[in-house]
């Protein structure tokens, strides 16, 4: 009996560790239903034509997220047409960062002319499941049948500070390779940015 209990404990602990780690490249990503700044709920399943997605956990207040706004917009303009639209998700606890409130998300999206949904992950559940830790933290998902396979995790490119000095566009390279039916060479990089402000 004791042994059974022990293995249950070990299993629970293993499950807990696994949950904390989030997705790795090659894992199947879950869908979600989150509120967009226009008030509508958005799910990945809504995009029947998509070949995959660029899921970016981002927010309003973080200086790194701000530096990437134009680049995320550009990614959507380029890759939505090729079947990889951007889905932006704000995972921060608003009570910790009032700048990241729903109203401020609307204002920011309007100011910057976001052409993609900007969703609220109010409980940070999706960010936790994906294993995102930073804003911005980018995931490329590729549709394989009914499943969404994680094809890339990390930074958008190699220069957060200065878009004009970027030498390696990690995320765009990954999608380009997927579109050519090739294997993504650099499928993981360190996401550079602010830590996600988790609810307590």
């Amino acid at each position: 009996m004791k042994r059974v209990l022990m293995s249950v404990v070990v299993l629970i602990m293993a499950a807990a560790t696994f949950a904390q780690e989030g997705y790795k490249v090659g894992d199947v990503a879950r869908d979600f239903s989150l509120k967009n700044i226009d008030g509508n709920m958005v799910s990945l399943a809504d995009y029947e034509e998509a070949k995959g997605f660029i899921v970016v956990f981002t927010c309003n207040h973080c200086p790194y997220a701000i530096k990437y706004e134009d680049r995320i917009n550009a990614l959507n303009k380029k890759y939505a047409a090729k079947g990889y639209p951007v889905i932006a998700i704000n995972p921060n606890d608003v009570s910790k960062v009032p700048d990241d409130s729903f109203d401020n998300m609307k204002i920011r999206a309007k100011e910057k002319g976001f052409t993609f949904p900007y969703l609220v992950d109010g409980t940070s559940e999706i960010a936790a499941t994906y294993g995102a830790t930073r804003t911005p933290h980018a995931y490329v998902l590729q549709k394989q049948g009914k499943e969404l396979k994680v094809a890339y995790i990390g930074a958008i490119d190699d220069n957060a500070r200065d878009a004009s000095s970027v030498e390696e566009t990690y995320l765009a390279n990954a999608i380009d390779l997927l579109l050519e039916g090739k294997k993504v060479e650099k499928s993981f990089t360190r996401a550079i940015g602010c830590t996600i402000k988790w609810p307590q």
């Binding site: 200086p63 190699d158 220069n159 957060a160 500070r161 200065d162 000095s165 360190r190 550079i192 830590t195």
Partner: protein
């Protein structure tokens, strides 16, 4: 007269503080330029490198603990070095006034190398890139201990005590 003198000394004192604090802030543009400092023989000093930024709230919160550690552990040859990853355009308007206001006397480097994916793993493979992060090092004794977390003073001093205790005997 006495009032005038007091006022004079007050401003003189303020001016001296202004001259002392904030002067030690050094801009380092590439990790290659910072590396010689990390690799310089440390003698018997244990260096505590704290990575932070003025925009990072948990970093700012724990900075006083690093200042305290530096003075409390001075006789144990522990030295704190602060490495900010603020943007270059923030050094004058943000970092220097911050260092002045907080009366920080420790060396402050502002590392603005934008290729984080290159240099972060060189500090530690364990480092995801989040700050605050702290590295304890003595390169002559082969001591390297890294933690990506925020600290209370107690947690920080416990960690330093542990590293000091496990130091190779000479």
């Amino acid at each position: 007269m006495s009032m005038l003198r007091k006022t004079f000394f007050f401003f003189f004192f303020q001016l001296m503080i202004g001259l002392v604090y904030g002067q030690q802030v050094q801009h380092v543009e590439t990790f290659q330029a910072l590396k010689p400092m990390l690799e310089k023989p440390s003698g018997d000093t244990l260096f505590v490198y704290n990575f932070w930024a003025t925009w990072c709230r948990p970093c700012v919160k724990e900075l006083p603990y690093f200042q305290k550690l530096d003075s409390v552990y001075a006789d144990k040859k522990v030295k704190v070095v602060l490495i900010s990853i603020d943007d270059p355009e923030m050094i004058e308007p943000m970092v220097k006034p911050f260092v002045k206001r907080r009366k920080i006397t420790q060396p402050v480097y502002v590392l603005t190398d934008p290729k984080q994916n290159d240099w972060i793993p060189q500090i530690s493979e364990e480092w995801s890139g989040a700050i605050p992060a702290t590295l304890i090092m003595n390169n002559e004794e082969g001591i390297v201990s890294f933690k990506e977390q925020s600290f209370t003073y107690e947690e920080l001093s416990e960690w330093v005590d542990e590293v000091l205790k496990n130091r190779p005997k000479k």
